[in-house]
Amino acid sequence: MNENSSRYKRVRGVDKFMTGVFYGIGGFFILLLIVLAAYIIVKGITSIYPGVFSFTSMGIGNQFFNTIYLVFLSLVISVPLGVAAGSYLAEYARKGRLTEMITMSIEALSSLPSIVVGLFGYLVFILMTGMKWNLLAGALAVTILSLPTITTTTRDALAALPSHYRSGSIGLGATRWQTLWHVLLPACVPRIITGVILVAGRGFGEAAALLYTSGQSTVLNWANWDITSPTCPLNVFRPGETLSLHIWVMRTEGSMNPHSVEIANVSSMVLIIMVLGFSLLARYLSRKLDEKNKGAAK
């Protein structure tokens, strides 16, 4: 009994200690995030000068627009492709060499360094096509980076669905495609949307892949809506510097600009807020959609 209680104390002690360690690690991460975000946001706020948010060469409005537009373009391409690829892997592909190769290729794609993807983009989308820097090339480069994530998100979401959805649907005389389109994919929408939002967040911060694809400058004329003109905001074949690149440019080549430091700080702040905001949005939406799916009728 004595021996038990001293051993018991030791075991309990270790348990408490480790619990503390784990809480500490969790707390550390929260602290890290708060410190990082706070520093950047405070720096940004103190650097705000009149006109910093304007859509002229004085401010970062154009870059902000470019960031959103570029990510939007890349999603337009990568989401249908990624969902289709993920659906193929989850529902149609047979276990075998080919499928394994496809899975490995996707994993390899997702771990490519973004600068390499950027240089590839430069080679194929700029040099080989003979075009100048353009938004679309940048969007395609970002697509290469985001496609694997959307594919695996879709594939995992589908694989996680109970198989009795499929049996129920097939048992009613539906085809595989009908089952996928009317039952399975709708049931995966929350998870897929979460994946898309996270990918978008990553896309906002992308810099290396855009260095030699969408370019380091942007001149927009918001009065010009001729879509073929290089200063029209909606023209996808025009150069379009994004926020993250702008930060880099401001702190290197652009230091001739009198406000370069402030611009970099404010850009960093805006970018961090966007990324964090999207992350939170993804979580919120996914929870809301899950509730709706699980039957709030209970």
């Binding site: 009795h164 959805y165 009613l172 005389g173 539906a174 039952v183 709706k292 799916n293 699980k294 709030a296």
Partner: protein, 283 residues
């Protein structure tokens, strides 16, 4: 609702004689099995190299409840799934022999989706889709081409009524089906299968996951439905088979040992193995 005790031979005598009369009439009337819903001939089924069903020969009559009983792993669920070709979904499953539904071999060149519309299935675990109750029922008709909203409303109402669950659900058709209780979900699944107007309903242990009250509701439902449908039910609950079925087939290790009127199977089985199973010597 009649209860047929397993060893209650007194009450079953009259019924057995009545059915025997019908059967003789039926036999003389049709030399060519026209009124058989299913004719299964020399059916062998393999999962890769394992043989799961051996030389099955079986007749299923329309507008009857046919029960398939037997110990776990005897092949009764596998056989049930051959009746609507759900086994096609299993990799490595090979079927030899004939399964003839209304005169056509369903393993020949047929429209499998139409087969599955016509032969509905209810599974052991209730499996409503993660959609509203209305959309669950309307799913079948919609994928088979029905777009008219008024028609769909009507089908949903009729199907839920046939499954005796309209009153409970009519005020919450738009709510998610996942919010229902197990028994309600299973009746919903029955309604969903009925919505595409099948001839046959296959039920794979439909009440084994449910409470006794829901079980009774569904057994009553089956009795009501058999006038309009042919029902084949797999059950490991012998008393259930005795209660609700007209014919019973006993399976063991992939073979059909004996098939006869329920009264005969449970009263005076011909095969010793059947008798051993019925009396609980194994199972």
């Amino acid at each position: 609702m009649e209860g047929i005790g397993i060893l209650n031979t007194a009450g079953t005598g009259a019924l057995a004689r009545e059915r025997a009369d019908e059967e003789t009439q039926t036999v003389t009337r049709t030399a060519s099995d026209e009124n058989l819903k299913y004719k299964i001939r020399d059916l062998d089924l393999y999962y890769d190299t394992t043989q799961a069903l051996k030389a099955i020969n079986m007749d299923i009559k329309p507008h009857e409840v046919t029960a398939m009983i037997g110990p776990s792993g005897c092949g009764k669920s596998t056989l049930l799934r051959t009746l609507n070709r759900m086994n096609d979904l299993v990799d490595g499953c090979r079927v030899e022999g004939k399964v003839i539904l209304d005169g056509t071999d369903i393993y020949g060149n047929i429209d499998v989706n139409e087969l599955r519309r016509n032969v509905g299935m209810v599974f052991q675990q209730p499996n409503p889709f993660p959609m509203s109750i209305y959309d669950n029922i309307a799913y079948g008709p919609r994928i088979h081409g029905e777009r008219n909203k008024a028609r769909l409303d009507q089908i949903v109402e009729e199907s839920l009524k046939k499954a005796a669950i309209w009153d409970e659900l009519k005020d919450r058709l738009k709510k998610s089906a996942l919010g229902l209780s197990g028994g309600q979900q299973q009746r919903l699944c029955i309604a969903r299968a009925l919505a595409v107007d099948p001839d046959v309903l296959l039920m794979d242990e439909p009440t084994s996951a449910l409470d006794p009250i829901s079980t009774t509701m569904i057994e009553d439902l089956i009795q009501e439905m058999k006038d309009n449908y042919t029902i084949v039910i797999v059950t490991h609950n012998m008393q259930q088979a005795a209660r609700i079925s007209d014919k019973t087939a006993f399976f063991l290790l992939g073979e059909m040992v004996e098939m006869d009127s329920t009264d005969v199977i449970f009263g005076q089985p011909k095969d010793k193995r059947t008798e051993d199973y019925i009396t609980g010597r194994f199972g």
